[in-house]
Amino acid sequence: MNEAWDVVVVGAGPAGLAAATLLAEQQARVVLLDEQPAVGGQIYRGIERAAEHPSLLTALGPDYVYGATLAARFRASGAAYRPGSLVWQVTPGREVWFSADGSSHLVRADAVILATGAMERPVPLPGWTLPGVMTAGALQIMLKSSGVVPGEPFVVAGSGPLLFLLVQQYLAAGARPAAVLDTTARANEWRALRHLPEAVADRAGRRDLAKGLMMVAGLRRSGIPRYRHVSDIRIEGADAVTGIAFRSGTTQHRLATRLVALHEGVIPAQQMPRSIGCAFAWDAAQQCFAPVLDAWGNSSVDGVMIAGDAGGIGGARAAEHAGRLAAFEALRRLGRIDAARRDALATDDRRARQSQLAVRRFLDVLYAPRDAVLRPADDVVVCRCEEIAAGAVRDVVRQGCLGPNQAKAFLRAGMGPCQGRLCGPVVTELIAQARGVGQDEVGYYRIRSPLKPVTVGELAAMETE
């Protein structure tokens, strides 16, 4: 491997694959680092291996199969690729440190494209730390990567496209949920209607809406009980899940189950860009922090670009175009093309990306998370690692704590192995609520490397390449 690269791309989902492919095709020296053993990110996870299992491909559906095209084009591009690489530090000077094969490595680049994707929004509710509670995305990963499905009745609870997609894929694969608890708020359904024309006016928007309607119709046809406008979820059990209690409308219900899938949408993965010092701002429409980016994906740190869902949630197809836009900008930065040429080359991707985003406003409003998810009740654990409840965070605010970093010092919230990935968004919300100020004013945890667990042995076996 060369010492210095033109571009380092982090993450092998749609944005990273598209960026690295285009750069390699344009003869830039590019390396793609990814923590997974194979390409695809989470959305196209296991896409190359899945080809060996036609029935699994059928169950996962054509939008998943599409990822094989991206993967094949990447493989043909000649881009350097380092799977199994855990990037644990990126500096503003564009040094990228990572662990792979038991030792640490350092690469440098003129431009870094972060395509680190999204994570599922934390769903803090009573019982969410019990074994037997997983995210919908986690279950989908097990399906995609290993063809593993629940072997007994299970309950799916939450809101958002991924939840319904998982149910559709499970039904096609022969795994049947006992019930779907749809937490989408009634008020959202009315508010979302206002954004329907924007989605309908676009071809990709119409396609996305049609896909959504098909999923809901499929769920109805299946006869699986679908409880609507669900709230007050409480997962029961001592050492593992035994059941789930909830309210649907005005009726109280309880179902026995050993497995619950939760999902309340996805948010950008903040850890890496925050650790570099990239500026973030609160996105009120998507109810999350997103990095401040220009039209090409340039962050506030020179030479650090962010593409795909890591820059704001737009979905896989929009991410692919964003990856290509960042790649064109990187080529300009490298002096391979001028700005006029970049603009000309990027025309199709800019238009296509806009089109892929046509349905987004509608989805953002329809699946806006409920208050109870963003700002849970006092007795709910928000920091899974240190087992800190929401009430403890509210208490320290009453004692004068102004922000997440102070709360961390008081409570240890955010100091466990997940480094605040799951409690960060919730702690910011709780402090904002308690202080009566906006999320931007409250801010977020200061994120420091190492971003992933790295052993002393891996550091000692340092290789600079």
Partner: protein
């Protein structure tokens, strides 16, 4: 709790707390253990409560296990390999 769509037997042998387990190519340690019926992989250092993989994508770190003598390895990010010795992580806080 889980089953495999493809019933052909796996070929990768590894152990969890000394008991032999079978995995398939493409499995992470976390998937292999969940598919083998393990209800949880570690206890928390704070209250000792059992935890199982939650996110399966390197976010929650509730799947931390000891692999071949090294603690705090994320089971969901580690491909399972022949002969791997995996152990449940109990309580005590390790150094990351």
């Amino acid at each position: 709790m889980f089953r495999r769509l493809d019933a052909t037997p796996g070929e990768i042998r590894f152990t969890f707390d000394g008991t032999e387990q079978i995995a398939r190519p493409g499995d992470s340690v976390a998937v292999a253990l969940l598919a083998a019926g393990e209800p949880s992989l570690r206890d928390t250092p704070v209250s000792g409560a059992p935890r199982a993989p939650y996110c399966m994508m390197g976010v929650c770190f509730d799947c931390l296990v000891e692999i071949d003598g090294v603690g705090n390895r994320p089971a969901c990010l580690t491909p399972v390999a022949e002969g791997m010795q995996v152990r449940r992580q109990r309580g005590a806080r390790g150094v990351l």
